[in-house]
Symmetry: C3
Subunit: 436 residues, 3 copies
């Protein structure tokens, strides 16, 4: 029986609570959203003061916006943040001004090719103000005067990052991260944190964890730069894999993994391997041209083995960054399916390691340990054990610190998950030791 | 005219002398067998005392077995070691017991799918007793009492290894080894030592040897572990190639080479190369799952460039480890053919080396050494020399310590054996020096 | 309007002045030829005294030859150096001797398969004398006495090498070299120095040069050995590319580049890359078997990234090293076309470099530098900039000191020349720094 916190009802209600909050890369909306999630996972918040130098960037001031309306001279509402929070350009500076339509036009954003969609526009790092409206409505605007009023403040505060970990036997870490800074956006925003939460619940229930799993939520770009500011050196040493999780709803059956830049991490390799054995996700190569926080993790100074997973890519759907990216478009059921698929992949990942044979000179005496028959006679019983005996021999011969378990599986012609029992026995007999 | 010691009559007589000896991994049968071969090659014996720790193993006690019979209550012989020495399970503990058929069954070994073959069974590392019989006979056994009598002893003694070398100009070594521990087995046993002996005779007659050839005979598995115990560190430094030789008789025209684990040794490379130039052996990749002593040489702590050669692989024939693996099955003529083929391969191997050009800055002045025409005019004579002039230029340019002569031959499009004359001239002029 | 020194008339007149000079690998003809070229490029002459040890060679004595005639007993001229300077074997020792036809034959060189061509023959490193004639004429020679008279001297002097450089922002050098030692040979000789001169003029007019260009003229083989004697260690440190230029006339539309031995230099890579983007030269692999000075640069002690460029290869035309290799065969127009094509390739080469991103931790804040839009909204203007924005992102991510700009271009799917504007901007903002 599914627990409530893994049910569709749970995620549906959580979505509805988070969706209307006016988030930005800093400020009260982001903190409020973290607070909602903290009910279900032990997120700790690390705060970086505004003005802190973060590599080539600076932690921005917080944007506090309480009111944003645009009205015509009859008092008719053209745009109002309280109606839909993306109607104000995010990070708009304050304004209180009457102006004619010509002057107003340069402060309006609409999509001629999607006349019924309101675009989502931000101007984080240059001061502007503006409103986002349907192009249909824009075309109907008449000459005359309009009144734009935005009550906003830029205040010194913090850049907030939320994180928690599930420790494993090894200090080697897997990073699972998503971002939480867009206002009312469903697939390209809330889908990520919700799947991250679901994955946290699943992994927390595993009996053993080989690896340590670190879960992070941050505002996009500046937040992941902040994460690297805090953990970059540690990640260089300990990170064996990572995924930025977003766009996990929408249509499309399969997950798509954008691999890490160097495409030589253990997860990169596993993702290719699994597709030869009953998995069927898409693998695409890294590019710095689009995407999200994985671009920071894969910058040349870090080159971390961090990829990105999506169900439908933001480049691939017209609802991206518009009012049409809502729950109707996204759906809640696909999120649960995404959680299932990701859990399966990380269960397989737990079998991926590079071992050293602790008795590498000649073959160990397996018979004396009960791991091999002591009689040179092929009985029916022995034939039944044959695959596991072979797994054991393969693991011992190729565990030289240079071949990982995927190499061993591929040489033998099986899936790395098939090696689980042999790995467990050999580790139990201290014949294999993981290479750190 | 073929010398006697290279004749089919010689090998036939030697086979007949060795076949009936009751060998095991230690003890008098093994020593007696070495003694027979010592008449024809200067084998030295190195003895490791029983109980000596050999990596994860221990040198076992010797098994001295003088009598083994199984009779029914009428005194009819069911099994008798003196009739055929594999009728007793090798390394059986002593027994002198009357027991009924039910109890006896767990001490009997037979092959239901080959009812007329007697299996060969060993239990080296766990104490048991047993008899091997034809399944046809087993089905006819009647209820009643049987008497099992085995007179055997386990005594402290030695693990014996036999070896000799043929020195070459270089200290770099080629290992040629076979094993000699099975009792009356023809193809999967005696074929190996006999071919090793033949190869010893051939190589001893070469005028020059670039490499040093080391010949080793040992009991399988524990013997090669003993070899590594004695020579492992030396092999890591000096071994450039090696072959475990067995199953050299039987049907099948071509030799099959199981390559070394890393498949990057000079012999591995040569074997692929020669098949592009009028050779036609089979090349198969290393696996630790089956095979023999090459598994020890290729364990992760050693990773020596040692492969294995067979004419018909033991996995490939139903006579393997049964009374049907006899001279009728194996034949003596195929052994001579195997010797011929292996000698040709090692003659080619003598041309495989990595050289350094001793005058690497610009081209050497070949004209002043009589190695190149001094006139820029293409005479008919020069055209005749063209291939050798080209071999010389190719060898000089690519002898940079990184390309070997196979690389040079493949760039030029010839067999490495075609370079022999140019190599000889350049070494004679001290223009090439082998890289150690 | 073409300047005179880039015109066909200029090269035509220069060819006619240089062609009749009796050159050899040393001596007055070579110096006179350098003198002609010094009018148009600032060649400095470095002189290595005769007898100097140059690696495995010795700088030879100069050959001063003032007269060489062969006459029959009627006084009819059979050969005369003053008629055509290749009629005497180059480097002939003095002789003044009457001899009969039989004895004379071993001093005559002709080409039975090209009976109307006079061969060009040299004997630099062994003392001989001889005459080169048409085989047609040779067949008509009657029995009787002939008088051979050669007035030549071997005198201590110098091996002369001519060079000049065009400095660039980087000390990394590009070597452009040709040889000038053959007497009256057009394509396989004068074409090279003439194209080198043309290229010098072009590169001298570039506004910026990333690389330093070094131009060298030398006698073939011993001259390039002399160059390596003088500059070899410097070249190992500074040379990033080089070309030996010869056979630049003749028929055939495309240039042919013989790549460097290791085929891993920046120019090697560029030449392959450009052929995917509207260039169409031929690329052939290095061989030490034929060719010219590139064999010395690519000897195992140097392994410099120096290739060779030709329009029609000397192996490929029957006029090679005969009196038929003249201006009629070669043409002057193809030389100008060769200069055009080489300039285009080196203009592209200026964009080839390995950079390091100076702010490698995360992405730099491009918006603050005016290099990226500050608004998350896809305007038409932004779409126009898209390619350059992408070039910038690609360059920043992959400039890790390991990927060069060709790697970046190929990942993005453009020609490296398309990156020029982005490279310029990023270098101007000090975001990229060339790796030395």
């Amino acid at each position: 029986m599914t627990k409530y916190c893994e049910s569709i009802e749970f995620f549906d209600a959580l979505f509805d609570e988070l969706f209307p909050i006016l988030r930005s890369i800093t400020g009260p909306g982001l903190r409020q959203s973290y607070g909602v999630l903290q009910r279900y996972m032990p997120l700790e918040i690390t705060s970086i003061p505004s003005g802190t130098k973060i590599f080539d960037w600076t932690a921005p001031q917080e944007w506090h916006c309480t009111k944003a309306t645009l009205k015509d001279d009859q008092g008719n509402v053209v745009a109002d943040m309280d109606r839909l929070n993306i109607e104000v350009v995010n990070y708009s500076e304050p304004v209180d001004k009457t102006l004619d339509l010509d002057e107003l036009q340069s402060h309006l954003y609409s999509l001629p090719e999607q006349p019924t969609a309101i675009p989502y526009v931000t101007s984080y790092y240059q001061r502007r103000w503006g409103f986002c409206i349907k192009d249909d409505e824009r075309q109907k605007l008449k000459s005359g005067l309009y009144h734009a009023k935005i009550e906003s403040q830029f205040v010194d505060g913090h850049l907030d990052i939320a994180h928690c970990t599930l420790p494993g036997k090894s200090e080697k870490e897997v990073l699972l991260s998503s971002y939480l800074c867009h206002p009312s956006m469903a697939n390209n925003e809330l889908s990520g944190p919700l799947v991250l939460l679901g994955l946290y619940h699943r992994i927390s229930q595993w009996k053993n964890r080989r690896y340590t799993y670190r879960f992070i939520l941050n505002p996009e770009t500046i937040g992941s730069l902040g994460v690297l500011h805090l953990y970059g050196e540690q990640f260089k040493e300990k990170l064996v894999a990572g995924l930025v999780i977003n766009c996990m709803g929408g249509h499309g059956e399969n997950l798509t993994f954008k691999h890490s830049r160097n495409d030589n991490g253990m997860l990169d390799k596993l993702l290719y391997h699994l597709n030869k054995h009953q998995f069927s996700h898409n693998n695409i190569l890294f590019s710095p041209l689009s995407g999200s926080d994985e671009r920071q993790y894969n910058s040349p100074g870090f080159q971390l083995p961090v990829g990105c997973v999506s169900r439908s890519f933001h480049i691939g759907y017209s609802q991206y960054h518009t009012s049409l990216d809502n729950k109707e478009y996204m759906g809640i059921q696909p999120l649960l399916d995404s959680i299932d698929k990701l859990e399966k992949i990380f269960l397989a990942f737990e079998q991926v390691a590079t071992f050293e044979n602790t008795l590498p000179f000649g073959e160990p005496n397996l018979g004396s340990r009960g791991l091999y028959p002591t009689l040179s006679f092929f009985s029916a019983e022995r034939t039944k054990q044959l695959d596991e005996l072979n797994h054991i021999k393969m693991l011992l011969n190729y565990s030289d610190g240079e071949h990982d378990t995927i190499n061993v599986a591929e040489r033998y012609g099986c899936c790395v998950t098939d090696l689980a029992s042999a790995i467990e026995k050999l580790e139990a007999h201290s014949l294999l030791k993981m290479v750190d």
